[in-house]
């Protein structure tokens, strides 16, 4: 099997450039071949050398060049809303680029200024696939987009979110500073604390002790500030978060340290406490980073399915951004384009794929007077529509509004660390009180107070507070490596409890597009394959794609086709090797004689039945909710091994959401806009591969691989992760019990704390990293 030189996808039917007589450089499609030619003519053929050297960072799909001229980017309205301005009025634009996948892409994108005199600079963020381009003020934004498009990266302009970005950056930098300060101070304190433990005394001892106190001040005030803030906010909402006992330890530790310094004692707990602040901040930072990466991926990738629209103004076509469409305007929508707004067909006849909006698997014919909705796909000819809504008040826009307003309604759970820290705080306070009374009668008030305070310091739940973010970071990483993007760590806790599993039909348990379900022919398979492959090559109509795939499975090869004609709503025809072939009305003709007939259906994914069975074994109760016709749903559900009472058809978006809200511990899996409300109503919403942007926004989890296999893994992963967290809880609580026992026996000292705290933290770290046997075996395969 050959692999495409450009996109590294398999190329079963490779194309070669004309100059390439030895056929050394295969390409999978015209798109990739064109880009190869462009790179050569621009003098950037080093691209392929660099690509061969560096690792491939992200997979990419074959190049599909956009036909758009991107003139909407030059619209002054657009520029003022989307672009930033530089010091000399330069235009600064951010583009999300589809198809960034390797080191060479970085090289090529940053060479952009050499390709056009108007481009002053170009920087790429590889992780987010965002290019920031600075143009001189005479430059045209459209020219940049055209260039990107020619180079094989489909550009999507990103809205200027400068204020929000700046805020996020500032927050992130201050977090880093807090961690850095804590780390530096903790390291220095350790240096002097070790000398003190080693027996430094007298002048030296006093001086070293003073140094540790000085170093601890910025850590316990500046670096530890987030703990105090969280604890305070929690207390105001009447919850005892894990930050409450931590803050208590830190504050008491600081007071005790200063009091001892003034009274001339040379011991304190600052070495343990500052290390603890450092480690906790670090673990929370890591968790946040992993989550952000997931958010960035799910926010951007599929946001802009229709990036430009064509408006008719005074008889002329003008390209604009869909955001600027208003009601009552005339728009042109071509083949393979999404309708940008709701509207009424003025001219032309076509077919529309509603599956993402309503869940219907069959395409619908439209003609003058028919109503079309934004977010549906035009499968047929170019048609003229009159908009009846703007982009934001379309049916899709309204669903989005509902989703956004329903956002806050999603039930919040009391997280495991919150539950534990409640008992923990109360328990530790109780123990401290008992210890106080116990010592009071033996050694007086002063000694009793000190012993009680020390107990509160050394029982700081550091291992506990560390273990939860560590385990979640590990789980989120594992998930991301397997193509599961989880937006928030709470999702894992909710998934562990999940009971009711709601599945959308179209695109979730089925392929979401028609496939050949029946095919009968008299002529040899090989020959039939040749005809299908040759005639349907390059077709974008779902029927054409289905027949092309069928041709591949029959094992055909390409033949030369003469006079090929593809007419939407009618079929394809062409001349192969002297005979005239026609495909129309689910039949195939050879010189006017029927030689084959076929049927098309949206088929069940071959692995859906197995996965549903396995999910059942995990204790989930599945149910299919679909907007499609009842008979179709029943048929598919039966095939998937579901009982009749576990299927419901002809459900609107609101009905789906209501049904889910009436139950508890719910998971919804879906892809279309009609699922968006349901996804946000469920405890956990899972958007599957190929989902619409709106569902992605309302979901908590996004699966980047088709089918339910990833979901099964995800359920197992969350259950195993929670097992690890419980194990860590037991571990860290047993270390705390040792501290309590030592405190009661009066044997506790800064040295014993300095041993127990790191050892317990190390234990939970190893335990989190180790995971469970099931977790390891699952992710290896």
């Amino acid at each position: 099997m050959d692999f495409c030189l450009h996109c590294d996808e398999p190329a079963p039917f490779p194309l070669f450039s004309e100059k390439d007589r030895e056929q050394a450089n295969p390409f999978c499609c015209e798109g990739c071949l064109t880009v190869y030619g462009v790179l050569h003519s621009l003098g950037f053929s080093d691209y392929y050398k660099i690509k061969a050297q560096g690792e491939i960072l992200k997979p990419r799909s074959p190049v599909q060049e956009s036909k758009s001229k991107f003139t909407y980017l030059d619209d002054p309205d657009f520029i003022s809303e989307y672009a930033k301005r530089g010091k000399q009025d330069e235009i600064i634009l951010d583009f999300y680029l589809e198809g960034i996948h390797c080191l060479a892409c970085l090289w090529l994108i940053e060479k952009l200024p050499e390709m056009s005199p108007f481009i002053l600079s170009s920087k790429l963020d590889l992780e987010k696939s965002i290019a920031t381009v600075m143009l001189s003020k005479e430059g045209k934004a459209s020219s940049v987009a055209v260039l990107f498009n020619q180079l094989g990266y489909r550009p999507h302009p990103l809205k200027n979110g400068q204020e929000l970005d700046d805020l996020r950056l500032k927050e992130e930098r201050s977090q880093l500073l807090r961690i850095g300060v804590a780390g530096a101070a903790a390291g220095n304190i350790m240096l002097y604390a070790v000398s003190l433990y080693g027996g430094a005394s007298g002048e030296h001892g006093a001086f070293f002790n003073l140094l540790t106190v000085l170093f601890a001040i910025p850590v316990l005030t500046y670096s530890a500030f987030p703990f105090y803030r969280n604890a305070w906010m929690g207390l105001r909402n009447k919850t005892l978060s894990i930050d409450v006992p931590i803050s208590l330890s830190l504050i008491l530790g600081a007071i005790l340290g200063v009091v001892d310094l003034l009274s001339g004692k040379t011991e304190n707990y600052f070495d343990s406490l500052t290390t603890l602040v450092f480690l906790l901040l670090l673990s929370r930072y890591f968790l946040q980073k992993v989550q952000q990466r997931g958010l960035a991926a799910s926010d951007l990738n599929f946001f802009y399915q229709s990036e430009s629209a064509r408006r008719i103004e005074n008889g002329k076509i003008r390209e604009i951004h869909p955001d600027f469409i208003k009601s009552g305007q005339t728009l042109l929508v071509g083949n393979g384009e999404f309708f940008p707004v709701d509207g009424e067909v003025l001219e032309g006849e076509s077919e529309v794929d509603n599956s993402l909006l309503t869940g219907e698997s069959r395409s619908v014919g439209v003609g003058p007077g028919s109503v079309v909705f934004s977010g549906t796909l035009n499968l047929g000819k170019e048609i003229l529509i009159r908009s009846t809504s703007g982009a934001r008040d379309s049916r899709l826009g309204k669903i989005l509004k509902n989703v956004e307003s329903g956002w806050g309604l999603r039930s919040n759970i009391v997280t495991i660390s919150q539950r534990v820290s409640q008992y923990f705080t109360v328990g530790v306070m109780g123990l401290a009180a008992i210890l106080y009374l116990y010592v009071l009668f033996q050694a007086g008030a002063e000694a009793a107070l000190e012993r009680a305070v020390v107990l509160l310091i050394v029982t700081c739940p550091c291992a506990l507070a560390l273990s939860v973010p560590l385990s979640f970071t590990r789980a989120l990483r594992l998930a991301a490596q397997n193509g599961i993007i989880i937006k928030s760590d709470e999702t894992i806790e909710k998934l562990e409890l999940a009971k009711h599993l709601f599945l959308d039909k179209t695109g979730t348990i089925t392929f979401g597009q028609v496939k050949v379900s029946e095919f009968s022919t008299q002529i040899p398979h090989q020959e039939m394959g040749n005809i299908l492959l040759s005639l349907e090559r390059g077709s974008r109509h779902p029927v054409g794609k289905a027949l092309f795939e069928h041709g591949q499975s029959l094992g055909g090869s390409f033949q030369e086709v003469l006079e090929r004609r593809e007419e939407t709503g009618v079929g394809v025809s062409g001349r192969i090797g002297g005979s005239f072939y026609e495909i129309r009305g689910q039949r195939i003709f050879q010189d006017g004689k029927v030689i084959a007939s076929f049927k098309l259906n949206d088929l069940l994914r071959s692995d859906s039945k197995d996965h549903i069975k396995k999910l059942r074994e995990e204790g989930l109760i599945p149910m299919v909710l679909s907007g499609d016709r009842k008979e179709t749903v029943a048929l598919i559900a039966k095939e998937a091994g579901l009982l009749p009472e576990e299927t419901q058809g002809e459900l609107g978006p609101e009905k789906k959401a209501q049904l889910i809200k009436s139950m508890s511990q719910t998971v919804m899996v879906g892809d279309g806009a009609n699922d968006a409300l349901a996804l946000s109503s469920a405890d956990v919403g899972v958007a599957v591969y190929g989902a619409m942007d709106i569902s992605l926004r309302s979901a908590d989890v996004y699966l980047t691989t088709p089918g339910l296999g990833a979901l099964e893994k995800l359920i197992v992963l969350s259950r195993e992760t929670m097992k690890v967290i419980r194990r860590n809880l037991i571990l860290s609580l047993s270390y705390n019990s040792i501290s309590v026992a030592l405190a009661f026996a009066g044997l506790i000292s800064p040295l014993s704390a300095a041993i127990i705290m790191p050892v317990s933290s190390l234990t939970v770290l190893l335990s989190s990293y180790w995971g469970t046997k099931k977790m390891r075996s699952l992710w290896k395969s």
Partner: protein, 60 residues
């Protein structure tokens, strides 16, 4: 132990310098994108030559 009079201020001073360097770089945004720069450094013109030089050797 008189040496401590020199060593301790030295240690503190050095540590402080590095902390300042860290604060400066964090505020300048050097840690904003941790992914791209490590690849970008392979791509300045000299680096590129090295890479392609390397590849020729491997091909032989």
């Amino acid at each position: 132990m008189e040496i401590l009079v020199i060593l301790i201020p030295l240690a503190l001073g050095l540590g402080f310098l590095f902390l300042l360097a860290f604060i400066w770089s964090a505020l300048k945004g050097q840690y904003d994108d941790l992914e791209t720069p490590r690849y970008r450094m392979l791509l300045d013109d000299q680096g590129l030559k090295k890479i392609s030089h390397h590849s020729k050797k491997e091909e032989k």
